[in-house]
Amino acid sequence: MARTLAPAPMGCSNRRVTKDANPARAADGGGEDGRGTPIGRRVVLGMLAGGAAGVAAAPFLQRAYDNTLGAAAQKDPTGLSGLLPAGGGFRYYSVTGSVPHKDERSYRLTVDGLVRHRASYRLADLRALPQTRLVRDVQCVTGWRVPKTPFQGVRLSALLDAAGVRPQAKAVRFTCFDGAYSESLTLEQARRDDVLVALRMQDKPLGHDHGGPVRLYVAPMYFYKSAKWLSKITVTDHVEPGYWEQLGYDVDAWVGRSNGRDDVPTT
């Protein structure tokens, strides 16, 4: 094709180039265009140095950010600052494509496994039981932390006592109505005072995005232990690793003492 064979005469530009470039050399490295200071390489190296410096200075920078813009973001009425890194507040994580909505009518929490009395609770049944309110920090294993968040609900130990745990039981397994998520605790962990079957968060009924109407709340552990959309509690004879735990997370997920992290404990 003719058009690819005919380089257009670009001579009109040569006068300007030859002022500061040596016209004798036209190597294969881009011709006269390819000479001058290697600024490009310096920019790349500068980015690498800046990245390394950023990693090193991050703790300091993060603290400065939290104390200024981060603090302001907590009061941001538009919510736009939530899109900034570490903009504060909760982040929505779901492991499935879509999660069904359950309400007063359709929600059931079953307790089964190594128990004397299997049980099925409706929302109203759970609300009728003695409620416990805890206010602790929430710490996610990915780094975000939400300070002083109230959770309210029924102590898990109360549900276990009501079901009558059999002597050979060692652990409790939790499954969720998203169809995929699961979690486990040892029986000893499950009986702690700060482990709730939560119905309310931030003094409001638990919304769907926060795992409502009912989620697990394990105050002393990273937040992935606090399974959302809780639908079944099964007493078992061994700890079965949960969803993220099969993907490498620690089963005993104490905040500050697991997953290679050293966050301040939440309890």
């Binding site: 009109c12 530009s13 040569n14 300007r16 006269e32 265009d33 000479r35 600024i39 790349v44 570490a86």
Partner: protein
Amino acid sequence: MSRPPERATARPRVPRFTRAEHWVHRATATLMAVCVLTAGCLYLPFLAELVGRRALMVTVHEWSGILLPVPLLLGLGSRALRADLTRLNRFGRHDRQWLRAALRRRGGRPAGKFNAGQKLYAAWIAGAVLVMMGTGLLMWFTHLAPLVWRTGATFVHDWLALTVIVVIAGHVWMAYRDPESRRGLRTGSVDAHWARHEHPLWKQEEDPTR
């Protein structure tokens, strides 16, 4: 589907990019788009609520990120691409003039095959991708480094991601405003008048088809 008939027969066209460069750009752009979209699904609440599937999104994000430099590395086999990398790397006096004029929003911006803005973009995004890969690997293989490094890597990865998205949006906006430059990457050739106007110092190579 056939493209609208090109007016190349009416106006002279000059070769600008080879097939290899076309595919390197297309593959890199696709991987980058996948990276940005999956990042959005992991990070933005409304996308996370819409898409969910967190484990899948993480895997796709990690692999599209780690593959990002591969098209360019393969493309290094092409002499034309290597020559263009040299052009992008080297800044002459006219590039300083271009940058000064651009900063003061004045005309008179002399440019070779690539203008100083394109050169800076190329170098910046190359460096940014390397930093994103490095910090991403620290977050992916958490046992590689002590915890403070991982926290630092997360910090840099988050903020640089935000910057990268803004800069890429600028890159796409520039391309959107200039159909002839897009035609150059798509078909390999550009209108000769456009080339003379936008890249007056660009001198054609002897054999541009290689």
